[in-house]
Symmetry: C2
Subunit: 661 residues, 2 copies
């Protein structure tokens, strides 16, 4: 054990194990998570070659092997709870998506949710037993977030009682679905349904794409891998071009909407039924943000505790880089953010489950709020985390660029969350739509409830952004609840400003749509402020439930740092709205420095509390024992370029060059 | 040619070719650059396989082949001007560093600058003719920016007149030098010189590391590749462990300092002599920022002109995504930044050459200012560009994640600039040291000249940050010169605040060093504001020299956008210092929207003016002809995973799995 990191652990003011329980949601959850980790990490069937040393084809091969093993083991051990499967999977493929992800997380659930009983009989067991391996093919080369723009067609032919599927243009080729390129033999294809000359919009169809015995593509199917990406090396994201592919009528997903044998189209009873999954996935991504950020902070903070560099005082030994104020200022606000996002992830899961029960009982009333919240928080947390990972990586100096640090991989595996499951700017605008709608309702005297209820008050206050600067701010900057209030008022102000921008555009005779587009900058800003408020509020609420004094104290410091750092980073907003004064902004800067010093002795313990197994972290810089350099050397020596002392290019090019010069 | 992009070009209000001349520094430079591009791109010897489809060893192999070819051709064509070599190289290895970079850019120049005449006789011609291939080994596993911390030792043995080189610890192993792993047979090793029992600090030694015939490592040398990184796949960044390696006394670089045969040490005449190279390299990096950003903007803006998505007005066709205000707000400020950094790069080159002449005439007086400027601007432009590339990438939606977009590669090849040649935070603090020193001089009544002369005025104004908020701002937000003034005053305020923070810490009986560390956040902020001011100022100055009315108009719009966007992003600073008022901040937000609309019709022409050859851009999304989708499909089909219709993993793992479930 590295002595620096041992000393750090001795200095902690709180019981790390107890904090881990809070992060996991209770000691039982911690225990079970560790059991699952032990199951995987002690299992020789999951031994792997370091993917950094493999070609893409070898990485794909290894991932398929481990996925196949995983499915056997899960059944052997009888692990069936989705959360436990998730933990198991995240140990088998630590930090990496896998070729069977879409089969497990999209294909099977879509069957469960959208297949008719007859379709369940036909497809579910073969899919459960991996005879059918499926993916979910929605995105096209030319069309992403805007589903109505999808071009793939499924035209019903009553003569044969078949659908004929086509990719009518290059831009309509299905593009991106994971596992589509090489792994799947079936795809759920989203296509515009045509029957009896009418278009009935987007519907889902089960399309066999490869022969179930030979795995060769079927007639009319052009399928393959879309080529290398930024990360996702294990996944065969694929393309699919359909050329007059015929499938039986019964392959349209028929639980809700139907096409009768004669071609008659039957509408689904409600359009909100597929909403739930989308909200669920976005809520999950909030948790992914927290996990990616926790990993990155663990690596950067542990490494900063063992790395010595430069000098603060001449003549003294090089200090740990964690002693530099600039390093603390880079990392501790991100550490506080990791805690904040973890609690927001828990909060999202809780309200998702609560509202799911409502929905099961036919009560859809809370769905719009949850939808708006999940969209905005998905965008807010992924954008923030995306930048934060890179700050962590760069805070490790040169070694952050080495794949042995794991930080490059954390980044490339995480960054797609900013785009998939709803492009972030589009998500922010969806949340803004809800906020502006709520604002207008409050304006009309309607009483709002839920998370947007603060917009009622803003109506009472009748904020005039230009005028408020002169109001005397009453905020107590050292009181977290008071800061929550300030964030709330900032959000209210920015929602109001966005709504007024739309109003002004309309007064200039712009159409509703142009007014919206011409206010989009303000709308995104309002959403961002709303989400920021929610995060600060959730963090504050979480503190109320923490009984352990020592832990309450350190979490309070983190929460205060999170809130104050957000104010300095956005001080223009708060000053503009007159919510804090110029002297207060200066006081906050001074307080932040004090908070950094207070957190310094607990920094390593605070990342230890995330309790990320070394095999999951997979980082030479972030090792629990802090023995960085010897292990980095050992890792480098295994680099494939070192397989031969002399690379063949010397004999081929460099040696012959001499005689020519 | 894609009709959308053709229409965009027809809408431009200025002559693209003339703007290209301004960016290149004159029509002659443009012409010569294009000649060199034609030389390389028409040369079948430089044909290459797409590196995205190769293993790392194959990528290295291909890069060595092309580098060897390049050296032959440069001599054949007699290309010897450094700028022209740079252009040629950037076409041979578009956007990618190469294994011979350090030989050409560090080993040969170090010989030229630091070798004695006798050493030149021995080493230069063999190195020029690639018999000796060298690298520059400074960084160690445990030591980067802080040179005094390096641990490698070179101990003089008068008995044999040799130096004995050692890596005494794991952390002292040389780590990172490009071309060290497999390519080089010599290294210039930086080591602590010991002679007659005294340490004389860091000196450079020429160390043979591989046999010149067999290329096998020499006795006592442990050398190899440090393993895969985030980018830099073509380069064998290496490690070097020295175990009692003996080299002749004459292998110490002896132009300035010397060790006599008896072990007597002779000091160098000046410590500033090696300063120049460092400043030069950092100035060059400012230009690299401009180029990386120009490429990224070219790709994102052209793609945004051909990509159609979603709807602004219902029922109408999907608009070009460049019509969305949010997309313009993401990209146009970055476009303005690309122009700003290009002009700052030109400015740095100019003053570097001017000051180099002074230095050659023994006048070192301008060196500290240039040193401070190059350090800060290196950090400022690389940090800004680093984030900006990712904004460009993510603005392309899903396809930005594909390697075919080139954006992932631009990012990974660029991001190391934030760390190498001086870690950015350290650079910012070096600039801050100069600023605070200058501020103290002004405080003492000394008249400052040069770029920091504004600190004189700040002494006259005696700014009290807490009090100024009430002063009535006099800035004309639509006048760029007025905005330059505002940026200048912001910098002055923040330098003063940082200086005062140090003062306050000292009053609390902190040591000078602790006071500095406890003010580091403020110091970095002050440097950042100073650099931001310089960029805005240089952009404004550049405009004065632009005669063409149409070009002057569009560049003025860009400059105004750059300045205004910076104010909104940092509005807290400007409000706090009382430099702009709350209503002015709101006016600026409105003006920014107008500027976005004004730039919209010129956006494609403005990136066309960068004149980046398709083969240099190497991006399916950024193609000049805009034919994105068909080429993306064609590229994907060449992905190695598509070599066989059925991947072997199906037979190995997936098919056998069925019988087990």
């Amino acid at each position: 054990m590295n002595p620096d990191i041992t000393r750090e652990r001795q200095n902690a003011s709180f019981d790390v194990e107890k904090l881990t329980y809070i992060l996991d949601g209770g000691p039982e959850k911690t225990k079970r998570r560790r059991q699952i980790e032990a199951l995987v990490f002690s299992d020789p069937d999951f031994n792997e070659d370091d993917p950094n040393f493999l070609s893409r084809s070898e990485r794909y091969d290894q991932a398929v092997r481990k996925s196949a093993q995983m499915i056997l083991k899960l059944r052997e051990y009888g692990i069936a709870d989705p959360e436990e499967i998730y933990h198991y999977k995240s140990c088998v493929h630590p930090g990496r998506p896998s070729p069977l992800d879409l089969h497990l997380a999209m294909f099977l659930p879509t069957l469960l949710n959208q297949a008719s009983p007859a379709q369940m009989d036909r497809f579910f067991m073969p899919a459960w037993n991996l005879e059918i391996i499926g993916t979910y093919a929605q995105t096209e080369m030319g069309h992403g977030t805007h589903l109505r723009g999808l071009e793939t067609t499924a035209t019903y032919d009553p003569a044969t009682q078949e659908f004929v599927l086509n990719s009518p243009t290059v831009s309509s080729i299905k593009w991106w679905p994971g596992g589509l390129g090489k792994t799947s033999n079936h795809a759920i294809v989203l296509a515009q349904l045509y029957s009896l000359g009418n278009c009935h919009g987007l519907h889902a169809f089960i399309v066999p794409i490869r022969d179930m015995t030979t795995h060769q593509p079927l007639p009319g199917i052009v399928v393959g891998d879309i080529g290398p990406k930024f990360g996702f090396n294990e996944v065969d994201n694929g393309f699919l071009k359909l050329e007059n592919v015929r499938i039986p009528r019964e392959n349209m997903m028929m639980k809700y909407s139907k096409v009768e044998p004669d071609g008659t189209y039957v509408k689904p009873p409600s359009s909100k039924l597929t909403y739930g999954t989308m909200v669920f996935v976005r809520s999950m991504i909030v948790g992914e943000s927290a996990r990616a950020l926790s990993k990155s902070c663990t690596i950067a903070i542990r490494y900063s505790a063992v790395r010595h560099q430069s000098e603060i005082r001449p003549g003294e030994p090089e200090p740990q880089i964690l002693d530099y104020q600039t390093q603390q200022y880079k990392l501790f606000p991100l550490l506080s953010m990791a805690y904040a996002f973890t609690f927001v992830g828990q909060y999202m899961t809780e309200i998702y489950h609560r509202i799911s029960e409502d929905i099961n009982q036919g009560d859809f009333s809370q769905l719009p709020e949850l939808h708006a919240l999940s969209a905005g928080l998905k965008a807010f947390t992924t954008w923030e985390t995306n930048s934060a990972i890179e700050v962590c990586r760069m805070s490790c100096g040169g070694h952050g660029y080495s794949r042995s640090s794991a930080l490059p991989d954390i980044y490339v595996e995480f960054t797609p969350t900013c785009t998939y499951e709803g492009e972030n700017t589009v998500m922010m605008l969806q949340t803004a739509r809800y906020l502006v709608k709520s604002y207008r309702q409050a304006e009309k005297g309607q009483q709002l409830s839920g998370i947007v209820s603060y917009l009622n008050e803003s109506q009472n206050r009748r904020v005039q952004p230009q005028a408020v600067a002169s109001r005397r701010p009453l905020v107590d900057i050292n009181d977290l609840s008071s800061l929550v209030e300030v964030y709330q008022q900032r959000a209210a102000t920015l929602v109001e400003m966005a709504a007024k921008s739309i109003q002004q555009e309309l007064q200039r005779r712009k159409s509703q749509e142009d007014a919206w587009n011409n206010s989009a900058i303000d709308l995104v800003r309002a959403s961002d402020a709303h989400c920021h408020y929610v995060v600060v509020k959730v963090f504050n609420d979480k503190l109320k439930g923490v009984g352990d004094t020592a832990i309450h104290s350190v979490l309070s410091t983190l929460a205060l740092l999170y809130a104050m750092h957000g104010i300095t980073k956005n001080s223009g907003d708060f000053l503009q709205a007159g919510l804090v004064s110029v002297p207060q902004v200066l006081q906050i800067s001074v307080r932040i420095k004090e908070l950094l010093s207070q957190l310094r002795p607990n920094a390593v313990a605070l990342v230890d509390a995330f309790d990320i197994h070394d095999k999951k972290l997979n980082s030479v810089l972030g090792r629990y024992d802090g023995n960085v350099y010897e292990n980095m050397f050992e890792w480098a020596r295994r680099s494939p370029l070192n397989a031969a002392e002399v690379h063949e290019s010397f004999q081929k090019y460099l040696k012959p060059l001499r005689s020519k010069l």
